[in-house]
């Protein structure tokens, strides 16, 4: 197999303007419920932007600067928005049966994003350097030690800082990017068939079964 040809074939569609900037969308994919995924992604953008500002100024910036305190507040409310919209988005896609039509991996990547988002946010709480950080660190260590994850030392603020500002956001970014890519490539799941379509499908299947018997 020619690797270059393979990547060119795949990337041609994946990186095309039509994939990422569609002019037309399916008629069923409009309205507030279809904005929840975008609001989740937008919250992540605000989180990354405010997080970069804070990382550039060090973990204790908020304790000495009113601007730092304000930016930490933006980061705090953005993470609340992130999970709020993400959970609503999860509920919408669940009740839509959004894994239909070969979209199982899209669902898997979305739920994986939620799974990784939890320790990402948790390590952020450890960065506050207040009582909440102390308490969460000593409480979480027992569970992590019990699970054989003592390497992830929640009592080591240096390690947790690296985890919070680089490692976990990077993993989360990749998962979210892959999730969105699959949505763009596979498309938003269409509705379940309307009643008449459903009935027609049932009749056809029954007819096939009858003919086979």
């Amino acid at each position: 197999m020619n690797w270059t040809e393979y990547v060119r074939d795949k990337m041609g569609v994946l990186l095309s303007v039509d994939t990422w900037l569609p002019r037309d969308l399916p008629e069923y994919a409009f309205g507030l419920l279809y904005t929840l995924g975008s609001l989740t992604a937008s919250s992540f953008v605000v989180l990354v932007a405010s997080g970069i500002l804070m990382a550039a100024n060090g973990p204790q910036w908020w304790t000495v600067s009113p601007i730092g305190f304000f930016v930490r507040g933006v980061h705090f409310w953005a993470v609340q928005a992130f999970f709020f919209f993400m959970v609503l988005h999860l509920l919408r896609v669940y009740f839509s049966g959004a894994w239909r039509g070969g979209r199982e991996k899209t669902w898997l990547l979305g739920t994986l994003s939620l799974l990784v988002a939890i320790p990402t946010a948790f390590t952020g709480y450890l960065m506050r350097g207040d009582f909440y950080s102390e308490w969460n660190a000593v409480q979480a260590k027992d569970g992590l030690n019990a699970m054989g994850l003592a390497w992830f030392n929640v009592l080591n603020a240096g390690q947790m800082y690296g985890m919070h500002v680089v490692v976990l956001p990077l993993v989360l970014s990749v998962l979210i990017a892959l999730h969105i890519t699959l949505i763009r490539v596979k498309g938003v799941v269409p509705p379940y068939p309307a009643r008449d379509e459903d009935e027609a499908a049932r009749r056809q299947e029954e007819g096939v079964a009858h003919a086979q018997s």
Binding site: R23, A29, F70, G97, L108, Y132, N153, A157, A194, E205
Partner: protein, 327 residues
């Protein structure tokens, strides 16, 4: 029987949209929301519990923690991996398998090393330390155990702890010196000492505080595990990390709350639930639950109104791709 992979409509049309404006709009909405909430409500800050605070406001508690570390009966001394070879808090074979990767010897690291620093500045502590070092291990254990028992009858006098007269050897001046170190505010620095002297790791200071001092403070704030502590946040209007509600709920089950391996069970159960959520699409029946629940009729209400209404528009021709939104 419906096949979940094919159980979707094929009649719909594409309509013109401005995708870029949509994404810009949602980002602006969230940014304005986060900035506005930060300006209006600010954010939660709950002051940290310092060793100095514990030593100053509750000297007796400080000494009880310290003597537990010195005698080897404290929580960390009896914990086990990853801190030492004890077995007191070993909850699973995995914990044992990982081994001692963050070694801690509470008597040395929490008490004797900091006291060694105090001894440089305080001749009384220096003399006491000399006696301690010269004594046999058995003699040290007797002195420390006597002092630990005496603390049950001790009282606080000013900023000091007064114990009844007894055979404590040098332990009483050592504990008094350590208490003064705690009250000075220097003990946190004495505990958190990385080889490079750049202090990124606060493990030992947190482990020193992690028993009664932090638990007593947390209980007042209703942050204990059996108080739904993980998801609690400061007073209103601040929300807590509510996204950990499921794991917190598992900790409220009495069997798990009181089990010796409760943390391992709770986290394993939480992870199993999450895996069930992730693999749902591949599990027969589970992957059909949304179709049976029919909540989707509300989600696509407009769509069904349009195509199921007797006077609705004629069905469009099937799109070229099965649901793909790329036109």
């Amino acid at each position: 029987m419906h096949n979940p992979k094919q159980d979707l409509t094929h009649r719909y049309k594409y309509v013109r949209a401005d995708f870029l404006k949509h994404l810009t709009g949602t980002t602006v909405v969230v940014a304005v929301l986060a900035v506005g909430l930060s300006l209006w409500f600010r954010e939660p800050v709950r002051p940290a519990l310092h060793i100095r605070t514990v030593a100053t406001t509750t000297p007796l508690l400080f000494e009880k923690v310290a003597i537990g570390d010195l005698t080897g009966t404290g929580i960390i001394a009896t914990y086990g991996p990853p801190y030492n070879d004890a077995v007191g808090h070993v909850q699973s074979p995995l914990q044992k398998l990982v081994g001692v990767i963050h070694p801690v010897n509470p008597a040395q690291d929490f008490i004797l090393k900091p006291l060694g620093m105090v001894a440089v500045l305080n001749p009384q502590v220096a003399s006491a330390m000399t006696v301690w070092q010269a004594a046999s291990v058995g003699q040290r254990e007797i002195w420390a155990a006597n002092y630990a028992r005496a603390l049950a009858h001790a009282r606080v006098v000013g900023k000091s702890v007064a114990v009844p007269a007894g055979a404590y050897g040098p332990v009483a001046p050592m504990m008094a010196g350590l208490l003064r170190l705690g009250q000075s505010g220097l003990m946190t620095g004495a505990l958190n000492r990385s080889p490079a002297d750049y202090q990124f790791d606060n493990q030992n200071a947190l482990l020193f505080l992690q028993g009664a001092p932090l638990h007593q403070a947390a209980k007042k704030l209703e942050l204990l595990g059996n108080q739904w502590g993980i998801i609690h946040e400061e007073n209103a209007p601040y929300p807590g990390p509510w996204w950990m509600t499921i794991v917190t709920a598992i900790y409220q089950i009495p069997y798990i709350a009181h089990a010796s391996g409760g943390d391992a069970v709770a986290l394993s159960l939480g992870m199993l639930l999450f895996i069930a959520l992730m693999v749902g699409p591949w599990v027969p029946f589970i992957n059909e639950v949304p179709r049976r629940l029919r909540v989707y009729r509300l989600i696509w209400r407009d769509y069904y109104d349009r195509y199921e209404h007797p006077d609705g528009p004629p069905p469009p021709s099937a799109p070229p791709d099965d649901g793909a939104s790329s036109p």
